[in-house]
């Protein structure tokens, strides 16, 4: 990569994910320092910046949508990022959290907060501060347009590196054999 004229702004977040995709991002290891010559992080768990700047170049979304707040954050990313990438199984198809989709939400809440063993009291948390859970967990492309998808649970650090370096070089991202996997 040659020296950039300006650094690209990259925002990242985890919605109903487990942070494993962010960990995989960090699995680019020392290449992080090379990447930092070309990008700056905007809103991300790695910074204390709380909202996307309006001129982000790349938004990376881990996790699907399990509550109203997830939807709100996703829309903020789509609005402010030129390119939006869905990273990992949960963002792409709901992933493991979507295994709750065949059960009524109230049944699950009852189980966890009323009938599970070792509870001193039973009640379903209902404070107005708590965002409303969605009846089902949804992949993000059902709500906003997504430009690229990087599959895997999680995709490897190498796969994430490949997509980002392709984009930085102005190439259409591609994943070769070995980097493209579903697990």
């Amino acid at each position: 990569m040659t020296a950039p004229t300006r650094k690209l702004k990259v925002a990242t977040t985890s919605l109903a994910g487990c942070f494993g995709c962010h960990m995989s991002f960090l699995d680019i290891d020392e290449r992080l320092f090379t990447l930092l010559e070309h990008i700056e992080f905007d809103r991300s768990p790695l910074t204390d910046i709380k909202h996307c700047s309006p001129d982000c170049d790349i938004g990376i979304i881990e996790g699907g949508l399990c509550n109203a707040e997830n939807v709100h954050v996703l829309r903020e990313f789509r609005k402010n990022c030129k390119i939006l990438i869905a990273i990992g199984a949960c963002a792409i198809n709901g992933g493991l959290p979507a295994q709750r989709n065949h059960l009524p939400l109230t049944t699950i809440l009852e189980e966890v907060y009323h009938t599970s063993p070792g509870l001193a009291n039973g009640m379903i948390p209902n404070d107005p501060e708590l965002p409303l859970p969605l009846n089902k967990v949804h992949p993000i492309h059902e709500v906003v347009k997504v430009d690229y998808f990087i599959p895997g649970c999680p995709p490897s650090g190498d796969a994430i590196w490949k997509v980002l370096t392709d984009l930085l070089a102005g190439r259409e991202p591609t994943l070769e054999h070995g980097l493209m996997h579903y697990d």
Binding site: S14, L15, C18, D27, P97, Q99, E111, V112
Partner: protein
């Protein structure tokens, strides 16, 4: 001040939807609760299922391989937390420029510290990769043992770097020790509150992250219980639900809700054990205990110091294990009399982690109960937030500076809100200043 609370806003319901799944899927399913320390869930579930398949004692190879995986995780998770997430606060100050107060800022101002942080984490991730098959969400442990041993090439690759890793971990302890000791006014008192504490301890009271019995002490260090077989955990611990958080509030049954809450994690473990089995970490533990003056240290910022002592211990244990030929053995599985119920407990990077399952005669899960590390710290984090808010709230306005200080206090516990809500790892924070009549005077939030 009326009230300050840490709301946990996500809900996922793993305990319910794994019911009906075959038990052998569980170690690979439940680790998807958390990508930051997936190995903890992978191993806690495997340990519970060891009980169910009747594997009373694993083969030496299987136990050592699991330990290697777990201590690799402890190393990577502690390195991530200290270098990537906390070193910016500690090196630049809590109120410093938000655009610099991150790992990128550290890379610019202290490149060697940032480089070591990245390489320490990388080494831990590589230990996980060779034992579990991949760095995040691997498959190494199975009920009754392991499905893979180490090749000579894999072992030798790790041996090449381990001596640097031990040395850098020692330097990290000395770095945080120096930062702490230089500013006792801040580090010994920021957000401080007294509480009980709990962890598992190994043989002879050794610090042990993989296996042992439950020990709890009160705020003066006096034993509340000790030597407790964790299969009986539900006789000692109960959980309360509160309407404003999806994260439950556990407490010791014997002391009740009001007085029975406790803290877990590095600060609890390092002060709960009688000694550490590896020499460098034991030396550092003694330094810490001497500094605390023979009485338990409760300052939240002391979590950082003890976390680095644990990282050093993990590095030393990995070094010893890599010299043990059992890692190369293919004697990996045992089985025995099938049981219907099992509990697995492990010391995860953030504290004690409980997995409890019942399985029917068709091998399907019928009940699951998880108490994750951050949930054990729920009340403690709320206390820290309350103390910081009391100390730093000026007048009737909630400021960004106050939120920064609250975040620093919460971050000391290394909360994994991903695990705790069985949801995800961000820090949604809402501070509301409420007058005694319940009217909101001022509020500020971040998500």
């Amino acid at each position: 001040m009326h009230q300050v609370r840490l709301h946990i806003v996500e809900f996922r319901g793993f305990e319910k939807f794994i019911q009906g799944r075959p038990y052998w899927e569980v170690p690979v399913m439940v680790q998807r609760l958390c990508g930051i320390c997936p190995v903890s869930h992978h191993l806690a579930a495997s340990k519970a299922l060891d009980v169910i398949v009747g594997a009373k004692k694993l083969t030496p190879a299987a136990e050592k391989l699991r330990r290697l995986m777990h201590y690799g995780q402890m190393l990577q998770s502690h390195a991530l937390h200290f270098f990537h997430l906390c070193s910016p606060d500690l090196l630049f100050g809590f109120d410093s420029d938000v655009t610099k107060r991150n790992i990128v800022g550290v890379a610019a101002a202290h490149p060697e510290i940032a480089r070591r942080g990245v390489l320490l984490r990388k080494f831990g991730q590589e230990v996980i990769r060779v034992t579990a098959g991949k760095r995040v969400h691997g498959t190494g442990a199975v009920p009754g043992g392991m499905n893979k041993s180490l090749t000579i090439a894999e072992r030798d690759e790790l041996l090449k770097d381990i001596y640097h890793i031990v040395a850098w971990s020692r330097d990290a302890v000395h770095l945080i020790q120096k930062v702490h000791i230089q500013d006792p006014g801040l580090y010994n008192s920021f957000g401080i509150f007294r509480s009980n504490f709990m962890s598992i301890v190994g043989h002879n009271g050794d610090l042990d992250f993989y296996h042992g019995t439950l020990r709890a002490r009160d705020d003066n260090g006096k034993l509340i219980f000790d030597g407790v077989d964790y299969q009986q955990y539900d006789k000692y611990i109960e959980e309360e639900v509160r309407p404003w958080s999806y994260m439950k509030f556990p407490f010791f049954k014997s002391l009740g809700k009001e007085h029975g809450w406790y803290k877990v994690g590095p600060l609890a473990r390092v002060q709960n054990c009688d000694q550490i089995s590896t020499p460098f970490a034991e030396h550092e533990r003694k330094e810490f205990v001497d500094y605390a003056g023979g009485t338990p240290m409760h300052a939240p910022l002391a979590y950082h110091w003890t976390r680095m002592i644990e990282m050093l211990h993990a590095a030393e244990v990995i070094k010893d294990l890599l010299h043990d030929d059992d890692l190369l053995s293919d004697d990996l599985m045992v089985e025995g009399e099938r049981k219907m119920e099992g509990v697995g407990v492990i010391e995860a990077p953030r504290g004690t982690l409980f997995h409890h399952y019942r399985v029917d005669e068709n091998d399907l899960i019928t009940m699951a109960n998880l108490i994750v590390s951050t949930t054990n710290n729920n009340q403690a984090m709320n206390e820290a937030v309350r103390h910081v808010a009391r100390r730093y709230l000026n007048g009737r306005e909630v400021t960004e500076g106050l939120l920064n200080h609250i975040e620093v206090a919460i971050r000391a516990f290394d909360p994994c809100l991903s695990c705790a809500t069985h949801a995800l790892g961000k820090m949604p924070l809402a501070v509301e200043l409420v007058d005694p009549e319940g009217n909101i005077v001022h509020s500020l939030s971040r998500s």
